[in-house]
Symmetry: C2
């Protein structure tokens, strides 16, 4: 309907610094009428962005200032760290009122990380059937299809006609806000197939639902992991998919808009893990960030000490020829960079399932070959350069050989380490980087200093 | 319809190594009947995976062996490198026959990187209206909404009723295979609004379309960049969105399944760029891979030489105290690791638009603070360790101070460098890494060696 709200949304303000300043001013002045007026035209997703931009301690204050005008949908749009700031500080009664207006899927997101006492208090404030639905969803493992699915769906018996189905849609008042297909079920509520709304609309009224249904081949269960769900949606271009329970009964439906969140989340996790970060929300506090990153830095300190002790083995050589100390980081760092290239490609290909047991050896061979070729170019450049710089062509040959060796090592281990972790069911994005740089540092220093000690000294 | 094909799909083979071996055998034996029988049950997406697993020179051979049984949809599912292997080697006549069965959007994907002569030849083999549609789409810039949209859509005048609309859907034979909404247009074909199929089905037959439409607020034009499109879909949980041309007329529709590909592509690009790779398809040849990665490695070689020349300034100090050479990589590498953490989080937050001008300074301050705190812990550990190892507590104090300094530098530049590139409209994922490690290497070596030269020697 072309309501006033829709028209307002057409001229919704952008959540930029100027708008943020005006909102903050109204909030600081305690001018709640002005505040409501300012944020009323915002879409829930933009309102969530606005709340994230407020300082951590003002977020709950802001939501309370809006009172009954606060749109509960906004809670479902908040990033985790921001959501926690808000829901931890809202009274249980207000939370229950908000949650009762949300779909089960969104209600679960709002409540999943709340401490147990408060969650029980909020659940106690819901109507019995809402409470059961939320508790049931919370009982599924995190990251499972059961958490991801919506229970609100439309199912009809297989012997119905298109006309019966359309008439029943017109007369029902419990339809979900949005639905994109009709599920066809047998008397035991087992899924027989799916009829897309477009298919329903192009078929005659007398046609039987069982004659136009598509059988479902994707077999997503409530316990299926969300990563697998995301893979199936991407691979088969699904818009939605049915989820069945342990007994094969239709339990819910997952639509692609939720899967988009999963895809983004998984891609972000991989990217951050490769950067040595376990959680990267810009909305987290400095202390949370610090604690999350320290373990990885400690592991890196250990590997750096290991590399240092390798250098320590060659103290005598360095004393005789200080140029070795000057040049050794080049060999180590080029190995690290080339290895990171191979590792990143491998991790990404594993995540997208472009890389499997079927082509693993071909990819490893290709990576070693590519690094070997790049190694020849880089070794030639660095060898010639060092020869000129130090007027020492033997030293040039030594660095060239060490560099070439380390690049091959980088290609081999850059591919093998993620493949190995995948085989061991350890997330390759998280663990590969540390091991790889350890290998390229040790091989770089050992190769260069060892060769120099043997040939020159 | 529950056809034989659907039932076959239920028992479609998995594309694993065993299946690949059987297929390769049939292909090598020239047993095309067996080959067709083997791959017939495969979904187009799985068939595309199978083709990607074949050696580069067998891909086109495989497609030709299937002849008329080859499903043209598979072409649209191939990764770029694989698609090129196939289409470059298929005769233009076969390509035209295949492309004519695809939607415009998919046809464009198949033809966009073909060399100009062959593309013209293929286009010449299409029916006039197909040819015009594909040429029009190809005229839009790459990565624009015009390339992404489908032209096949359902539009009705605003004065129609729900009943009229449904009746017309039943009688039309040119409906798109899939559609999820009805567009309502005025006599000039300007978009008035959208009616979701679910909304259409729940409304009475006498209701006017203009009374149930949702006005469109997203304003996607044919020239809008696909990154912006992906942002709008993610931010507002869209399932589909109308695209308008320069005159505001309805030009096409983008559905979320295409946007999912864009989201995945953009996330992959960022992840690969952070790993120093411009393109990371595992299906590319070793030579392509080598050439794509070399420029980045050459830049890294330059920065490594720069770091080496910094070390060169302190040759005398290292000669006096070789322990400096042993320990200096620790300071540089810890700075690099901590800086990479900050940089990864910053690049990711910029990409997801969680980080904007409104909260940039807060994020920079927080990153410096977090790195300072981690720096204190790491400096304490490494200082004590070095004190014990070398029985030299002054040296321990020097490495601790240099490490703390370099971690603060890492936090500051890890955040500032991507923010600066973003400001200059340069992709922060691509350029930040090289600059950051240069800064942390130079500050690490300079800080540690300089401080040691000043205090100890």
């Amino acid at each position: 309907m072309a309501t006033i709200r829709d028209e307002r949304e057409l001229i919704a303000p952008t959540v930029d610094r100027a708008f943020l300043d005006i909102v903050t001013e109204a909030l600081d002045d305690g001018d709640h009428d002005r505040l409501r007026e300012l944020v009323e035209p915002l879409h829930a997703a933009d309102m969530a962005d606005l709340i994230a931009l407020l300082p951590s301690d003002e977020r709950a204050v802001f939501v309370q200032a809006l009172g009954g005008d606060f749109d509960p949908e906004v809670l479902a749009e908040l990033d985790e760290a921001v959501r926690d700031d808000v829901v931890d500080h809202l009274p249980a009664r207000d939370l229950a009122a908000a949650v009762s207006q949300l779909e089960t899927y969104d209600a679960v997101y709002v409540l999943e990380d709340l401490d147990e006492d408060k969650r029980q208090e909020v659940l106690g404030g819901l109507r019995a059937e809402e409470r059961v639905a939320v508790e049931e969803a919370l009982a599924y493992p995190e990251d499972s299809a059961g958490r991801l699915m919506r229970r609100e769906l439309v199912a009809v018996p297989q012997f119905w006609t298109v006309g019966q189905t359309i008439d029943s849609l017109r007369s029902r008042d419990d339809l979900p806000d949005e639905f994109h297909e009709i599920f066809v079920v047998d008397p035991r509520y087992h899924l027989v197939g799916t009829v897309a709304l477009g298919q329903l609309l192009r078929s005659g009224r007398d046609v039987l639902m069982q004659d136009i249904l598509e059988e479902d081949q994707r077999n997503i269960k409530v316990t299926t992991d969300q990563e697998e769900v995301a893979y199936l949606f991407k691979q088969y271009n699904l818009m939605s998919a049915a989820v069945t329970d342990g007994e094969g009964r239709l339990a819910g439906v997952i639509t692609i808009d939720e899967v988009v969140d999963v895809i983004t989340e998984e891609a972000d996790e991989d990217m951050l893990a490769l950067g040595g970060v376990s959680d990267g929300d810009v909305n987290e506090s400095a202390l949370t960030v610090t604690r999350a990153r320290l373990p990885w830095l400690m592991v890196n300190l250990l590997t750096a000490v290991l590399s240092a002790s390798v250098i320590g083995l060659f103290e005598k050589s360095i004393e005789k020829l200080v140029a070795l100390a000057v040049l050794m980081p080049i060999v180590a760092s080029m190995g690290g960079n080339a290895g990171t290239q191979t590792m990143t490609v491998t991790v990404r290909a594993l995540a997208s399932r472009d890389l499997t047991a079927s082509n693993a050896w071909r990819v490893v061979r290709k990576e070693v070959l590519a690094n070997l070729m790049n190694g020849v170019v880089l070794a030639t450049f660095s060898g010639s350069f060092v020869g000129f710089w130090f007027r020492d062509w033997v030293l040039g040959a030594v660095i060239a050989s060490a560099l070439l060796f380390n690049l091959c090592v980088a290609g081999l281990f850059g591919a093998l380490i993620p493949l190995g972790f995948k085989r061991l069911n350890i997330d390759p994005a998280v663990a590969s980087g540390v091991f790889l740089t350890t290998v390229t540092d040790v091989c770089g220093f050992m190769g260069f200093l060892g060769l120099a000690a043997w040939i020159i000294l």
